[in-house]
């Protein structure tokens, strides 16, 4: 998809994919700079990564923490590339999040190189199957490793990555309103403001579980404590005024700076119109969903159901500086853990119809009439 995008826009600069001064960035279409999401497959799906100056929204599954997988990889990638980071969440101790970041897999010459080698073969084989050959040549040069790493979810990030890095953490649990967060974001982004042609570093902001019940006013009765109707409309107003002024101003700030903001929010806890407003503001809109353990129907429908841990949906891909929408081959992908370590996104594949168990085609087709007649005969 990325290759076709580059071809469509005649105005995009024809330069090498990775800039010389900063390995964490590369040129995208329409004069944008891209930054890796930390998940190689997601980068490929989105055509290279998240463009600088864009606002990425992730709709959470309120029952499963799958959005954390995205956030962890996103932030870990930033730490590995020594980019300034800002993390905000509704938890009491947001610094704890940093301890859960995954570590990049197999630095060169390690003993686990055979593992990565084997993995490469597997991935290449997978993509040959799903995408066809021309998609792969985008990132085959050696610089891919610098732009985007594979992260081993079972290995915590080494201490030395944290040292000398400026990672800000903000808790929005006890603050009376969101102005604290807004000020911190503004201060953070002001350091990264865009001046012509010279991009020294790119920043990443991640805001987790925005608008969730914990991060409302401390004196505001939450949806759970009181009944339904009255607090619902009060909190709707509160959300509209408080949070919805933050996101546009955040969007305005990030558009003029070299940073990407990722915000996750639980859409089911907001009123539908509130959630739709947030969705409209997003440049890139994703949603993650867990899949139930024992869903027999789905298991029958899809191959590799046992390995899936969830589904990711791409609703909108960023289109900065262009009016042409990005139409993806598929919008739903399965999230899998390869070797229980690496996050892999794959196209959904329909399971082949099993001949021995009686295909639906056979039973619903011409046989049905005759079999019914047969039972009536007796």
């Amino acid at each position: 998809m990325a290759t076709t995008k580059a071809r469509v826009s005649s105005f995009s600069r024809n330069v090498s994919t990775v800039t010389s001064q900063n390995p964490g960035l590369k040129h995208g279409p329409n004069g944008t700079m891209l930054l890796s999401s930390g998940i190689p497959d997601l980068d490929k799906i989105l055509g290279g990564g998240f463009p600088l100056g864009s606002l990425v929204m992730v709709m959470e599954d309120e029952e499963a923490p799958h959005h954390m997988l995205l956030l962890r990889n996103f932030m870990s990638q930033g730490l590995v590339q020594k980019q300034p980071l800002l993390y905000a969440s509704a938890s009491k101790d947001p610094k704890r999040f940093l301890g859960t970041l995954p570590s990049p897999a197999s630095p060169k010459g390690d003993k686990s190189s055979d593992l990565s080698h084997e993995k490469d073969i597997r991935i290449a084989w997978q993509y040959k199957k799903y995408f066809g050959e021309p998609q792969l040549n985008l990132n085959t040069n050696g610089s891919q490793q610098d732009y985007c790493n594979d992260f081993d979810l079972r290995k915590p990030l080494d201490r030395h990555f944290y040292s000398g890095n400026n990672v800000d953490c903000v808790s929005i649990k006890d603050s009376p309103n969101l102005s604290v967060l807004q000020d911190r974001c503004a201060g953070f982004l002001a350091k990264l403001s865009r001046n012509e042609g010279n991009i020294s570093s790119a920043g990443r902001i991640a805001i987790q579980s925005f608008c969730s019940p914990q991060c409302k006013y401390s004196n505001e009765p939450s949806l759970y404590e009181l009944g339904h109707s009255l607090p619902a409309c009060r909190s709707y107003l509160a959300i509209l005024v408080e949070s919805q002024t933050l996101i546009p101003s955040l969007k305005g700030m990030v558009q003029s700076s070299n940073a990407v903001v990722v915000v996750t929010f639980p859409p089911s806890l907001l009123s539908p119109s509130c959630s739709l407003r947030l969705q409209h503001m997003a440049d890139t809109l994703l949603s993650v969903r867990a899949i139930p353990d024992e869903d027999k129907e789905l298991a029958k429908l899809l191959t590799g159901y046992q390995d899936m841990i969830g589904l990711i949906n791409i609703h909108k891909a960023a289109r900065l500086n262009t009016q042409v929408p990005v139409i993806l081959e598929a919008t739903t992908f399965s999230i899998k853990l390869h070797k229980r370590r690496f996050l892999v996104l794959e196209c959904l594949n329909q399971a082949p119809v099993d001949g021995s168990s009686g295909s639906s085609y056979g039973t619903s087709g011409g046989c049905s009439g005759s079999s019914k007649v047969g039972t009536l005969d007796f």
């Binding site: 105005f11 005024v241 101003s249 407003r277 409209h280 500086n321």
Partner: protein
């Protein structure tokens, strides 16, 4: 006048019959563009912007941009064959960057904020009107305006009404984009209903019912309420067609008639 390639959207908006006295066919009319999350209708605004600049050398545009910075519009319009930077320097484009605009007064409806916006609009319009220019006011988009007004839909409606009066007072064209799906579940429907009532041309962008496709990006429905009919009857013309957005323009076609 050179021959242009009019497409179905131009026809639906009435841009193609330029033979009457009006330099810009949308003069004095209110165009409301509606879209949803799946299908953005920003391209309609770009199209109108481009057409208004090419319609007549005396046309001018006032663009209130809540959702994108100038560089975005500049790049998009340049690919459409229209140089916004040059137009801005010529005094034909007035770009009001409203991205960081926020009414003062946390959490309370505040009349002064939007009043200052309207004063800004009116000031530009009166200056332009003295130069005998045909003016278009474009707002992108209203949902951001609502947020900037601290969620007060009354203030937004007031601003819309004031802008609407400008269409009759100065003969401006007024074009606004809004997201229809925000209002669909019964929350604060007043804004969208009143705007739809006021609008003389209503453009709705929707995704295809059959899902996303590579060569058809969605469908447009245009309702053109022609107010000045010869027998005093308001006739409503409606147009339905599919569209495909390209970097250099849009392609409109009736369902099923696309020739590859």
């Amino acid at each position: 006048m050179e021959q242009k390639n009019w497409n179905l959207l131009d026809e639906a908006l009435g841009l193609h019959n330029n033979d009457n006295a009006k330099p810009w066919p949308l003069c004095g009319r209110f165009v409301l563009v509606e879209d949803c999350v799946d299908t953005s209708a920003a391209f309609v605004l770009h199209h109108i912007l481009k057409r208004s600049f090419s319609s007549h050398p005396s046309s001018a545009v006032l663009l209130l941009a809540f959702s994108h910075p100038f560089s975005h519009y500049d790049r998009v319009l340049r690919k459409l064959g229209c140089n916004l930077t040059a137009q801005r320097d010529n005094g034909r484009l007035f770009f009001l960057p409203m991205l960081m605009f926020q009414c003062p007064g946390e959490g309370k409806p505040n009349h002064d904020g939007l009043a200052s916006v309207f004063e800004q609009i009116e000031r530009v319009i009166t200056v332009l009107h003295q130069d005998k220019k045909s003016i278009s006011i474009i707002i992108d988009d209203i949902s951001f305006l609502e947020v900037a007004a601290n969620g007060s839909s009354d203030d937004v409606l007031n601003l819309m009404h004031y802008c609407h009066t400008l269409t009759s007072e100065y003969g401006c064209a007024f074009i606004a984009l809004d997201h229809k799906d925000i209002y669909l579940n019964g929350d604060r429907t007043a804004v969208i209903l009143e705007m739809e009532y006021l609008a003389e041309i209503l453009v709705k962008a929707e995704p295809l019912a059959t899902g996303l496709a590579k060569d058809v990006h969605g469908q447009l429905m245009v309702l053109n309420k022609e107010t000045q009919h010869q027998h005093g009857i308001t006739a409503i013309k409606s147009y339905n067609f599919h569209f495909k957005i390209k970097e250099t323009g849009i392609e409109c076609f009736y369902p099923g008639t696309k020739i590859q």
